[in-house]
């Protein structure tokens, strides 16, 4: 199957190789949570809710000099193309939970909140490739909404290499083609990579290009997330009557 049209250079869904899908972020979608956000990348749609910092529920897990960060990733029954009823905590979701937790923990200033706990819950409503990235972006927005002190904004984006072309932000069809899939997470301001995962194999010089493309994607998302947060702050300001 040809993933990039050899004549026009367009991809299956009409994007150019270094185009991202349309992204949309919304803050405050779960009324009862301390912070929450919805993040869409094309047809991929996830909700993140943050509870905390609060008292540690399981005293055995308490850490005396920093906050405990927990994360749970789950997929709705209707999120995939074929309806499946998957149990909570299968291997894939456990792995993604762990990835999200480690990535977010790296940017939260955990030492400021000793003996407390922060819960991040991400729920996939619709999966169309790049759920990992979308979850991290949603979690960043939700953490910012909850007012949790962070070093920087973490944003994530994926890139792949199909039909000898580096492609930004793979959708489900491209993702399941079996080619390399590089997911990168960066700290936007300090320009540091906090998350890097790749499936399949790739020559090192091409890998460099693909990773660079993913980083560019992350930066574009960071720019957008900053705008969303700024707009939200302005809204809060006007509500306060300032």
């Amino acid at each position: 199957m040809e993933y990039v049209d050899s004549l026009t250079g367009f991809r299956l869904d009409g994007r150019r190789p270094n185009d991202m899908r349309q992204i949309r972020g919304e803050i405050g979608v779960v009324a009862k949570a301390d912070g929450s956000a919805l993040f869409e990348m094309g047809n991929t749609k996830v909700i993140a809710a943050v509870y905390g910092p609060r008292e540690v529920q399981n005293k055995g897990q308490q850490i005396n000099n920093q906050a405990l960060v927990r994360c749970e990733y789950s997929m709705a029954n209707f999120s995939t193309g074929d309806r499946t009823r998957r149990p909570k905590g299968d291997r894939r979701s456990t792995e993604i939970s762990l990835v999200i937790r480690q990535t977010m923990e790296a940017c939260i200033l955990v030492h400021l909140m000793p003996r407390s706990q922060i819960d991040i819950f991400v729920q996939v409503l619709q999966a169309d490739g790049g759920t990992r990235s979308a979850c991290i972006n949603a979690a960043t927005l939700a953490l910012a909404d909850a007012g949790i002190p962070m070093r920087d904004l973490v944003t994530s984006c994926s890139a792949g290499y199909l039909s000898s072309t580096p492609l930004l932000d793979l959708n489900y069809v491209e993702d399941s083609a079996g080619g390399p899939d590089v997911t990168v997470g960066i700290l936007a301001k300090t320009d540091k990579v906090t998350l890097l995962q790749m499936d399949s194999k790739l020559p090192i010089d091409i890998f460099e290009n693909v990773m660079q493309l993913a980083i560019e994607g992350c930066k574009a998302i960071a720019q957008y997330i900053r705008e969303v947060l700024l707009e939200n702050t302005k809204l809060l300001e006007s509500r306060k009557g300032l």
């Binding site: 009862k32 909700i47 509870y51 209707f78 819950f121 409503l125 619709q126």
Partner: protein, 297 residues
């Protein structure tokens, strides 16, 4: 929600007794309801319903299947509810709920699924169902639509059953099932070939789908649309599902405390009255959502 203090409990009880609840509503008033349709584009139909801080999403997927041999002239409808972890801390905290719910809200999920099935799908034979299962058959005994109704609780602030019932009703009105052309094989035992249309969709007749009204008894009075705080003070609750003609389609009583039969009848007649208001409120919201969708196109 953290456990309530004695003063807070008395405030809730006192307010209900005086017909002025903590959020300023009267006993039988609903919170403002907001509806969004088509939130899951991959599904055949979907809706998101917000009732105060309660937030649920319902998606409807139709898949081709084979009717059961016992009922060859009927399609299958299944309802599943999942309590998302985004609402999970609500399920973890309060002591009473913890015993009822078990881990991760799984017991609550199955309780809600069963209650919804009872209220919307009628008896085992499928008679009296809000969704007519015989309208889902394509070729008798061979081919039918299986309708999967999945509910997801995103945020929980009490009265989940009413919110889910309303969301299912809205999602059904938003559902389009592809038109099927069947090419029968030469021998009657062959599995028929099917051709799904991309353009023509069949709409459901949702006039018969009931709404669910839950009346929660707190102290000596009962209230409609209880919040999580009010629900924590309930002695028992009655969920009545009512159709457009005010007929009862299903009943569920929850909570341990016993009720006098005369109170039960009284609650049902009040529920009928509240149900009418809820039904007309939903109808106008559905019409508004449809108009908005048309305008967007």
């Amino acid at each position: 929600m953290v456990g309530l203090s004695l003063g807070e409990k008395q405030f809730i009880h006192g307010g209900i007794a005086q017909d002025l609840r903590t959020d300023g509503r009267k006993r039988l008033h609903y919170r403002p309801i907001s509806i969004e349709t088509g939130v899951i584009p991959q599904a055949n139909g979907s809706a998101r319903v917000r009732l105060g801080a309660t937030d649920v999403i319902v998606s409807i997927k139709a898949e081709l299947g084979k009717p059961s041999s016992l009922q060859p002239d009927k399609g299958k409808v299944a309802i599943f509810v999942d309590c998302s972890s985004t609402a999970a801390p609500m399920f973890e905290l309060s002591g009473k709920w913890k015993m009822v719910l078990g881990r991760g809200g799984e017991e609550l999920s199955s309780e809600l699924s069963v209650a919804l099935q009872r209220c919307l799908l009628g008896g085992k034979s499928g008679a009296g169902a809000g969704i007519d299962p015989s309208s889902l058959v394509i070729v008798e005994g061979k081919l039918c639509w299986d309708l999967y109704i999945d509910g997801l609780v995103v945020s929980s602030d009490g009265n989940l059953l009413d919110a889910l019932g309303a969301a299912i009703k809205v999602a059904l009105s938003n559902t389009g099932i592809p038109k099927v052309t069947v090419i029968l094989g030469p021998s009657p035992n062959d599995q028929p070939d099917v051709d799904l249309s991309d353009e023509e969709f069949l709409q459901f007749d949702t006039t018969g789908v009931p709404v669910i009204v839950t009346l929660t008894k707190v102290g000596r009075h009962y209230i409609a649309d209880a919040t999580l705080e009010e629900e924590s003070q309930m002695s028992s609750a009655m969920s009545v599902s009512l159709n457009r003609h005010g007929h009862i389609c299903g009943l569920t009583k929850r909570g341990g405390a016993g009720l006098d039969p005369s109170v039960v009848l009284d609650m049902i007649s009040v529920a009928q009255h509240v149900g009418e208001q809820l039904m007309s409120m939903l109808d106008s919201e559905i019409a508004a959502a449809e108009a908005a969708a048309v305008q967007e196109q």
